[in-house]
Amino acid sequence: MLDPIILLPAAINGLTMGAVYALVALGLTLIYGVLHIINFAHGSLLMVGLYGAFFLHRAGLDPYLALVVMVPALFFTGYALQWSVIGKASHGSDQNILLVTLGASIVIENLALYFFSADTRTIDTPYSFEMIDLGVALVPLPRVIAFAAALVLAAVLWFLIARTDLGRAIRAVAKERQGARLVGIDVDHIFAMSFGIGTACLGAAACLLLPMFYVSPHVGHVFVLVAFTVVVLGGMGSFSGALIGGLLIGVTESLGGLLLGESLGQMGIFLIFIATLMFRPSGLFGSRLS
């Protein structure tokens, strides 16, 4: 049978992977959860971030230092994408947003395929294989860092939305678009800002992810449905929900893989997703901003 000696490390492993999922989902919960922009390009934009960090590393910049470049770079990418493409093309209809972001993801992914080929690339850093002894398990250093970063990012986002003027404007737009327009809020600008901030989170996630993961044009596929699962599970627009949801999904995947074998392990995620949509569409903890 499975005893704790195997289960515990698997669970911890899952928690650290879950932190990565949470990092990716935090941006999406802002975009999808708060503003209901169904962003299918979320995974592709993560891929863009990963390639950015990859080439910066090749140019001699450590991935963790690359944060300073990639976070603003992806913010502007996201802002521009929402401002110039998604907002204009969707005519305000949910189904069109779905199609436009899908189109954007197809374009971004295949541009990467065209320019960078389908090769899977990894980077080599001195700390990639450094282990931290947590007593019950050895955990690679980059995962510990990612875990801590997920907590910090969730806190930063919460602060941004709950305590700043920009956050108030975003919440106003989310709640009552027409009303927000009437009191003089530039709704299109706020949409683009939210999208930019959500995408900037992917810049952070990419830099934290690269030392322990890989990059390829289709790497986004791994994350896009998982990110939606985390957002729906954690409750739309809830940052703490995304954090807990991400960890939960990571553990599920890890334990599922242990019990059912690697190939079926991922299925647990999708089954959770399906079950959540059916039975608890407001998420496990209820939606914060609805």
Binding site: H36, I38, V85, K88, A89, S90, H91, D94, Q95, N96, L98, L99, V100, L102, G103, A104, S105, I106, V107, E109, N110, L111, L113, Y114, S117, A118, P217, H221, L225, F228, T229, V232, G261, S263, L264, Q266, M267, F270, L271, F273, I274, L277, M278, F279, P281
Partner: protein, 320 residues
């Protein structure tokens, strides 16, 4: 009268194609166009008429493809019967997915996401199971003969695909002139109001998704016997779901001829891109993505919308 004449001429031309087009390449191209016209119509029934956007039609396509492959290879089922079983299997899977989604009132983006998730679950299962050949996939043994749905050239496949395309047009036409079609459009426009007028929205949506799944299943079965190979990535991957949904969106949602037109334009444009810019991987997909965004931005009614507008203008000019 005029329209009937045009359609008869179109059908005659389509029948004559293999005698005029001698190139295997172009026949193959037309087969792809027809195959995706069939599946585009399938998506159109659910997405265009009933307004329920699925991102996981691969679930039906793959199930049809595997049903045809497994039953033929494992049990020696006749491929023609296999196509019928593929339709049945696709319809059945659609019914299950539809029941679970619609029972719990999932609409809009939720419905799109859950269909995508179902397709992914099936992809993982197909990768894992043994009777599907796992990740290696399944090869259909070569044995040419009409009874075996295998032809020495492309012509035979072309006529089969043409037959299904005509069938799909007939289904679309019948739907547009039926009570179910009227009720589906009412659901698309306003579900509450439809319910208030006595429309059993749950049952109607189930019928739509089952019909859509069956037609897509046929497409999957045909794919298996045409390419003689299927694997989990082809069958259940997101690629086929996307290609299927692009077809009616480009052609015109909720129209009879939209999917056929959309499929022709989509694949024609993809081919053109390949000719102009070389055969690099992903190039045609970049084109598809741009086309999708441009269509939604500038022509939300699809090409059929454009056709109607032009015809309207032409008539006004003719009247004056």
């Amino acid at each position: 009268m005029n329209a009937r004449l045009v359609m008869a001429a179109g059908l005659a031309a389509a029948l004559a194609v293999p005698y005029l087009v001698r190139s295997d390449f172009w026949l193959g191209f037309l087969i792809t166009v027809l195959l995706f016209a069939v599946m585009g119509m399938a998506w159109n029934i659910l997405g265009g008429y009933a307004g329920q956007f699925s991102f996981g039609h691969a679930a039906f396509f793959g199930t049809g493809a595997y049903a045809a492959a497994v039953l033929h290879i494992g049990f020696g089922l006749n491929p023609w019967l296999g196509l019928a079983v593929a339709a049945l299997a696709g319809g059945l899977v659609a019914l299950v997915i539809g029941y679970l989604s619609f029972r719990y009132g999932l609409r809009g983006s939720y419905f799109a996401l859950i269909t995508l998730a179902f397709a992914e679950v099936l992809r993982i299962l197909a990768n894992w199971a043994e009777f599907t050949g796992g990740g290696v996939g399944l090869y259909v043994p070569l044995k040419v003969g009409i009874a075996n749905l295998q032809f020495s050239g492309k012509t035979g496949y072309y006529y089969v695909a043409l037959g299904f395309a005509v069938l799909s047009l007939a289904v679309g036409w019948a739907l547009e002139h039926s009570r179910l079609g009227a009720q589906l459009m009412a659901i698309r426009e306003n579900e509450d109001a439809a319910q208030a007028l006595g429309v059993d929205t749950f049952a109607c949506k189930l019928k739509a998704i089952a019909l859509s799944g069956a037609l897509t299943g046929i497409g999957g079965g045909f794919y298996t016997h045409y390419y003689l190979y299927i694997d989990p990535g082809i069958a259940y991957g997101p690629g086929v779901s996307v290609e299927i949904l692009l077809v009616p969106i480009i052609g015109g949602l909720g129209t009879v001829f939209g999917p056929l037109l959309g499929s022709a334009v989509l694949h024609g444009a993809g081919e053109l891109a390949r000719r102009l810019m070389g055969d690099a991987p992903g190039l045609n997909l970049i084109f598809y993505g741009v086309l999708l965004i441009v269509m939604v931005r500038f022509m939300p009614e699809g090409l059929m919308g454009l056709v109607w507008r032009l015809r309207h203008r032409w008539r006004r000019v003719a009247d004056a």
